[in-house]
Amino acid sequence: MKFRIRHADRIVGAFVLVAAAALCGSIVLVGANQRWFARDYRFETRFASAAGVAPGTAIYMKGFQIGKIQRITLNEGNEVDATFVVYDDYYPKARKDSVLELVTSPIGLGTQLLFHPGKAEEVLAEGSFVPLAGSEEGRFLIEEGLVEIPPKDDTITRLLAGINPLIEDLDKTVVTVNRTLTEVNRALAGQSSGPAGRIVNDAAKAVATAESYVDTLMAQVSDLLKSANAVADNAAAMSAELRDPTGLVPRLLDAKGSVKTLLDDKNVLFDRLTSSLAETEKTLKNVQGITQELRAQMPSIGVAIDEGRTAIKQAQDVLEGLKNNPLLRGGVPERREQQPLYQSLREGEF
C-alpha cells in the first residue's frame, strides 16, 4: 500500500491544519492592520462643507496618522457633522482645547486634515466636540493661546496662510481708524448728527455745566487734539499709501504681483506691509489712549466710539478691491474645490 494511502489521515490532517493556521494568521494580520482589536476614541466635529472630507479621510498630527473620519452627515443647519476617531496609541496626545484644521494644498494636491492638540494637560474626553481652526470657537481657542497652530511645512501654504490674517487685520484697522477719526472729529466739531455726535454734544453741555472740570477738560481736549493730529498724520500717510498708484493697494491688487512679487521683490512689499501694520498699531494705541482718557471723564464717549467701531467694521470698502483679488482673497478659498491632480489628469483633455 502506498505511503499516502497508509498515512492518509495524517497527511490530510496536516494539509487542513496548515491551511487553517495560515487562514487564521492572515485574519489576525488583517485584523491587526485594520485595527479590529484596538480601541478607537470617537469625537465630533463640524465642517462647513463635505468637500475634501469623506469617511476614511486620515487625520494627521505632526505627520502621523492618528485617526480618521468615520461618518459625515448633513445637519439641519446645512453644516456637515462629522464623527472621527483617534487611535488608542495617540489618544493621550489628544488634549482638551484641541482643534482640527482642514488644509487645502495650494497646488492642487488635495486636502489634509490636521489635528492640533490643545495645550491643556487634561486629555480630551471621548465624544467631545473638537472645533475646526477656522470656526469661531476654534479661532477663540487659538487667540486665547489654548492651542497652537504650528507653521505649515509647505512654504507656499505658510506664506499664504500668513498673508490672509495680515491683510484682514490691516483692512480692519485702517477702516476702523479712519471712521473713528472722522466720527471723533465731527463729534468734537459738534457737527455730528449721529449717536456719537449727540453724545459729544450732550457731553459738551455737561462740561459747560460743570465748570470745575472745564480746565481739565480743555487740557484733555488739547492733548486729544494733539494726539488726533498725530493720528490724522498717520492716517494721511496711510491714505496716501492706499491712494498711491505704485503703493500698497495696487501692488496687492495687481494680478501679476501677488505671490510672485512677494517672493521676488526681496521682501520689500512684505516689509512695507509689516511697517504699515506697526504704524497702524501705534495709531491704535494713541486712539486707545485718547479714549481711555475720555472714558475716565465721560464713559459714554468710549461706549459711543465702541459702537462706532462696531458699525465701522461693517464697511470695508476701502480695501474692497484687495478682498476681491483673485489670488490673495478670492483665490485661496477657491482652491479648496480644486480636484486632486491625478483626477484632473484623468478627466482633463490633453
Binding site: 500500500m1 502506498k2 494511502i5 497508509r6 492518509a8
Partner: protein, 310 residues
Amino acid sequence: MAAPVLELRSVTCTRGEAVILDEVSLRLEEGEAAFFMGAAGSGKSALLKAASGLDVASAGEILFRGRELSRMTRREEAEFRRKTGFVFQDAALWANQSLYDNLALPVRIHEPGLGAAAIDAAVRRAAELVGYDEELRARPAELSLGERRLIGLARALVLDPELLYMDEPAANLDEESAERVHEIQAALKDRGRSLFVASSSSAAVSRFADRVGVLRGGRLLAYGSFDEAAAWTDPALRGITGRLKARKAPPRPEWASSLAGAWADALAEDKSAVDEPEWKLRDGASGDGDIDSDADAGPSEGGGEEDGRG
C-alpha cells in the same frame, strides 16, 4: 393468521415508456422458497428488485410482514435491510473495497456495537460458508466471476437474513460451487428462512421450490405451489416448467450439515464478544490487523490508482 413475509399487490414497474412488470401480485409465507422462472428478459430480475425495494414500483404495494416498503420509516427500512439479503446476478461487489470490507460493511452498518474481532469472525464465517478460503485482502477485480459471485452470496448471508433474494445464484458457477450454493439454500430452508429466487435451473427449482412462478413479458403468468406447477398443462407454462422433476432430496455433504448447525448461534455469540465499546468506521475498520481497509467507499481521483478507479 400471520402476515406473509412478503406480499406484492398489483405491482407495476416502468422504465421510460416500457412496462417491465405488469400488475404482479403474489404472497410468500414464512419459511417458504419461491422460485421464479422465465426466459431471458421476462422480468425475473425486475421482479426481485421491485420486491426488495431496489427499484421503485410505479404502482402497487409491496409489503414485508404486513408493512408497506414505501411507507417505512428510516428505522423500519434499516430493520428491513437487516433482515433481508440480496444476491446479485453479477455479484455487484464494491470494486474499490477489499473483499474483507465488502463482507464487513453490512455488519458494521447494522451492528455498530460489534467489536473488530466479532466482525472479523462474522466475515470469515461467511467466507467459509460459501467455500472461499483465499486471501480476503484482495480486490474484487482480482477474482474470477464465479469467485465474485460466491463473495456476493457471502455478503448477503453475513447477517443471517430471514428473507433472501437471489438472482440466478448458481448461474456461471462451476459444479462444485453451484452445489455449494444449493446446499446453502437447503441449509437456509432448514433454518426456516424464506427465499425469493429468480432461477433458470429446473434442478434447483425441483429441489427447493415451495412455490413456483412463471414470468413472461413482465407479467406473472402463473404462481402456485410446486405440486401445482408440476401439474400445469398450459403449453405456455409447460415450455418452462416441463423439466421440473418430482422432489428427491440429494445426499448432503457432511460439511454442510455441520456448518448449518454451527451457524445458528454464531452471530449471537459475536454480539456478546464486543471488545471495543464503540465501533466507528473511521477507525479503518480492519479485522485483526492484517486486513487493510484503505478506501471504504473509495472516493477516487485521477491519481487514485490504489483504488483502481478513475
